[in-house]
């Protein structure tokens, strides 16, 4: 459980994500958020944790907390297949550049999002997008990957997958 980038060299600088240590924290964040959003990447289709794909955990969270999801292809089809409908096809950085703009009104036309969950992308791709949001927006970002994403506002440390699953499962209980 180290606050160390999963890509050894991807040191962010002085400002680093706080560590997520338990489900309560995540729950509190969700509760506090006026309009959360989740962005899911295609690596979630490859990463297996305790016999279950990352995408399944993520879709379950989205479902349970009614969080709209942005994703690309082929993930879009996979999420639909899992019976979740509040999902919008959009490229990650496109999404980030929209979310960054306070005047964007979101998919429901009612205003921008204030909390972004993100997971399942190639490490550096997610890392850089989070960096863009960190520097150029005031949105709160939470990485749900089982490793440290220092440019997020909050991230899991790089950790054993079982520990990660335990926390996420608590969130899903």
């Amino acid at each position: 459980m180290k606050l160390e980038p999963y890509q050894k060299a991807e040191i962010p600088g002085p400002s680093k994500a706080f560590a997520i240590s338990n489900a309560k924290l995540l729950l509190a964040k969700i509760k506090k958020a006026k309009k959360p959003l989740m962005i899911i990447g295609h690596k979630s289709l490859e990463l297996e944790i305790n016999g279950k794909l990352l995408i399944d955990y993520l879709v379950e969270i989205a479902k349970k907390y009614r969080i709209p999801v942005i994703t690309s292809t082929p993930t879009y089809l996979e999420i639909k297949r899992r019976g979740y409908e509040t999902v919008y096809p959009m490229n990650l950085i496109e999404a980030a550049s929209m979310v960054k703009d306070p005047s964007w009104t979101g998919f429901d036309g009612k205003g921008n999002y204030d909390l972004v969950f993100i997971a399942g992308f190639p490490y550096y791709y997610e890392w850089l997008t989070l960096s863009g949001l960190k520097h150029f927006s005031s949105i709160e970002t939470i990485s749900l990957d089982p490793y440290y994403q220092p440019h997020a506002s909050w991230s899991f440390p790089t950790m054993k997958k079982e520990e990660w699953a335990k926390i996420i499962n608590e969130l899903l209980e």
Binding site: P89, N91, I93, S97, D101, Y124, Y125, G132
Partner: protein
């Protein structure tokens, strides 16, 4: 520079007509008067001259910056923390700093091509004389579209290129200077300079390529350029082998010439990595291509190379060390890449060969190209029997034993640019199962970072390639040799269908394939769009990669599709410096089909290309600074570029906002009215997360305001078809692209009509689109 003013003062000039003494001449302009095309507004444009055009693009496509680092460490005031809205000691903010970094990359890229072009031109002049004509073949009248467009001159002989090179060097210097602490500060002006770097980069590349095409008689706009052997398995392991690596082909050509002269063709293998390989096969029928930069360590460690000759660019920087490991002899040939080696240029060839073969000096530096040819061949012949293809590949047993030392620290995984599961593969290997290691071969980009990071110093990259050795030796493919420019005849035939949209687009696959999956995904995308009768152009390592896959019939895309610049063609223009033939084709369409003046008329032509020519660049694994400047040359000309997810490492995207109607107005040149034309093209620089996403976006970014209804319908067919295939539904922006019902693809009419209705779609006008008010033929109001 727009009034580039040449002057000469000389003591003595000898010409054919006699000798002049103490001649002094001042020349205000160097423009030929005999050329009927008038000089446009921006000959030899300086940094500021196209700033207005850049600002137009930048207002539509706002940069989204993604800092690699919260800090700036450019000067001794630093490091400075620029997190959020903090400013550095020089006053710069994060947006400015990110744009400055992009400019640095592009300036390095442009400088690299310019330096390459300069060395090449100097060399060719020395060898062949300054009056060598610049013929691109019978079918090419516009020999240098970029030089004409940017500089406003028409180069006829090789020496004419020097004027343009002077200009490029001058601009590179100014651009680099703007990066100094306490110069430019605003992101928008940095970005404008980025575009400028890209523009001059295309000039530099064009110069390099037309010079070598003309002098070396490479294929000249030849759609039927020969097929060439490609792959790590194409080298005959029984023969002495010379490996050439890099981009600047003269030393490799000297090797080929020496072999020919000495009747050794067939007795010695010459194979290459990267663009030097591509360019050598444009010259010599017996040369072979191993693969892109990421194949470097694979091939070298396989031990086949007896002599390694490197020139410049994309040459792994520790090859002296790698050559030593396999007992190969090493020759460096460029002043940009000297590797600390002794300079033996002025020593007799045989003495150098002796010192190499005896091991007295494992590597040498030779600047004399001809001598390189002689030394490389003689050394290869002499050393091959001695070293007996010594390799550093390992046996399964060695791998298994070594793997047992792994302490499971994960450093290898954390060091891998793609976090490939090296440790897990090693741990399987320790249990005797090498399959996971062999699998890594497909995704590994050969950077050896895992190896360098390993806590117990396992030669991990060697493990991977050793485990996949069989696969590697079976890599035998074909690629069509680089054909050079697009001919005027081809342009004449496709100009109209492209501008009207009936050929749905020109897709250029360029740049390095240095990210995981690049190898598999490029051929797949090429095939998809060639099948859909787009025009596919390729260059450099992307062109190789496209050829490294065979369909069920055992054919590569080069064997499957024709090589004409026409619908369904798969057109390899050549090496990285051949890229301007792709952008140049767009310029030529403006000139040949639309009869626009291109001479020193950049802004108008870029506006033309941007609004009318459905071209898009794809750099699926690009890693270099050169790739950055190549891309920015496309942007300034109005051609969008798509990169893979790793392209986020270029640190900023240029993204349009289709939700903001106000961004998508153009002037109608006929009426002077402002007209909404939809987000076409939607983005200027875009990362796609997956190949599926890329394919949908390629189709979409080919849409242009000028499409005829027939053309738009065809483009929408492909876009919607691909979208449905990969997202299982209609795209949510069709209403922005359908102007009248005639735009709707027939086969999807009902579905789309229903969708449009639901969206409250209204009919839109189809203007004669331009972003330049000065091009309005009728005054507004």
């Amino acid at each position: 520079m727009s009034k580039k003013d040449l002057r000469v003062k000389i003591g003595e000039v000898k010409t054919e007509k006699g000798t002049m003494k103490d001649l002094e001449i001042s020349i205000g302009r160097i423009f030929e008067e005999e050329w009927e095309e008038p000089v446009g507004p921006t000959p030899f444009p300086s940094i500021k001259d196209l700033r207005n055009w850049d600002f137009k693009l930048l207002k539509r496509y706002k940069p989204f910056y993604m800092p690699f680092c919260d800090l700036c460490c450019f000067c001794t005031y630093g490091k400075c923390d620029l997190t959020k809205n903090k400013r550095g000691a020089c006053g710069i903010d994060m947006a400015g700093q990110q744009a400055r970094i992009v400019l640095l990359a592009c300036a390095i890229g442009a400088a690299t091509h310019c330096g390459h072009a300069r060395h090449l031109v100097e060399h060719l002049i020395e060898e062949y004389g300054r009056d060598t004509p610049l013929s691109m073949g019978e079918n090419v009248e516009i020999e240098a579209p970029h030089v004409r467009l940017v500089c406003g001159i028409r180069p006829r002989k090789i020496k004419d290129l020097e004027i343009a090179l002077d200009y490029v060097e001058n601009q590179v210097t100014h651009l680099l200077s703007a990066i100094h602490t306490g110069q430019e500060g605003h992101w928008m002006d940095f970005e404008s300079k980025v575009f400028h770097a890209g523009m001059i980069d295309h000039v530099a590349m064009e110069i390099a390529d037309i010079a070598q095409i003309a002098v070396y008689n490479f294929p000249k706009a030849d759609p039927d350029a020969p097929l060439v052997e490609l792959g790590a398995g194409v080298v005959d392991s029984k023969k002495p082998t010379i490996l050439v690596v890099g981009h600047n082909v003269p030393p490799a050509i000297a090797i080929a010439d020496y072999l020919t002269k000495e009747n050794l063709v067939g007795s010695v293998e010459v194979a290459g990595l990267c663009c030097t390989a591509i360019d050598l096969t444009r010259y010599s029928s017996f040369a072979k291509i191993i693969g892109p930069m990421s194949w470097t360590l694979r091939f070298i460690r396989s031990g086949l190379a007896d002599v390694i000759v490197v020139d410049e660019q994309c040459v792994r920087t520790n090859l002296v060390e790698e050559a030593k490991k396999i007992g190969a002899l090493f020759i460096a040939t460029s002043e940009k890449n000297c590797q600390g080696l002794p300079n033996r240029t002025n020593d007799p060839a045989d003495q150098i060969v002796d010192d190499l073969v005896s091991g007295k000096q494992p590597g040498v530096l030779i600047f004399d190209t001809e001598k390189v040819g002689e030394v490389a061949v003689k050394a290869a012949l002499a050393v091959a029997p001695k070293r007996k293809k010594k390799r550093s590949l390992l046996t399964p047993k060695e791998i298994i034993e070594g793997s047992k030392k792994c302490i499971k620290c994960q450093e290898c995984i954390k060091a891998c640019p793609d976090n490939l599961p090296v440790m897990y593969a090693v741990n399987d290997a320790a249990r005797g199962d090498l399959s996971k290691l062999a699998e890594l071969y497909e995704k590994c980009i050969g950077c050896a970072r895992c190896e360098s990071a390993c806590s117990v110093n396992l030669p991990l990259h060697t493990y991977i390639i050793s485990a996949a050795e069989k696969k590697m030796t079976e890599e035998k493919f074909k690629i069509r040799a680089g054909r050079g420019p697009i001919s005027d005849i081809e342009i004449r035939e496709v100009g109209q269908p492209i501008v009207f949209g009936e050929i749905p687009g020109v897709v250029a696959f360029v740049g390095c394939p240095n990210y995981a999956n690049g190898g598999k995904e490029i051929p797949e995308m090429v095939d998809e769009f060639a099948k859909r009768r787009y025009i596919i152009t390729l260059s450099g390592c992307a062109a190789m990669t496209a050829g490294m896959f065979k369909d069920e019939e055992g054919k590569t895309v080069y064997e499957k599709y024709h090589g004409r610049f026409d619908a369904g063609g798969v057109v390899n223009v050549g090496s990285c410096v051949s890229n301007p033939h792709i952008s140049g084709a767009a310029i030529k369409i403006a000139r040949i089909f639309a009869k626009r003046n291109i001479r020193a008329n950049y802004e108008e032509i870029a506006d033309y290309v941007y609004n009318r020519i459905g071209a898009v660049g794809v750099a699926w694994g690009a890693m270099s600074q050169k790739a950055a400047s190549i891309a920015s040359g496309f942007w300034r000309l109005g051609v969008p570029v798509i990169v893979g997810p790793h392209g986020s490492k270029y640190r900023r995207m240029l993204l349009g906002r289709k939700d903001r109607d106000e961004d998508w107005y153009v002037w109608d040149a006929r009426t002077g009215k402002k007209v909404y034309v939809g987000p076409a093209p939607e983005h200027l620089f875009y990362t796609a997360e997956t190949k599926e996403e890329a394919m949908v976006m390629i189709a979409k970014l080919c849409i242009r305001p000028n499409d005829t209804t027939k053309g738009r319908a065809i483009k929408l067919t492909h876009y919607i078809d691909l979208y449905k295939k990969f997202y299982g539904k209609l795209p949510d922006d069709i209403h922005l692209y359908v102007r009248t019902k005639a735009d709707i693809p027939l086969t999807m009419k009902d579905e789309i009509l229903a969708y449009l209705e639901a969206k409250g779609w209204k009919e839109k006008a189809t203007p004669d689109p331009t972003l330049l008010p000065r091009l309005i033929r009728k005054k507004e109001g």
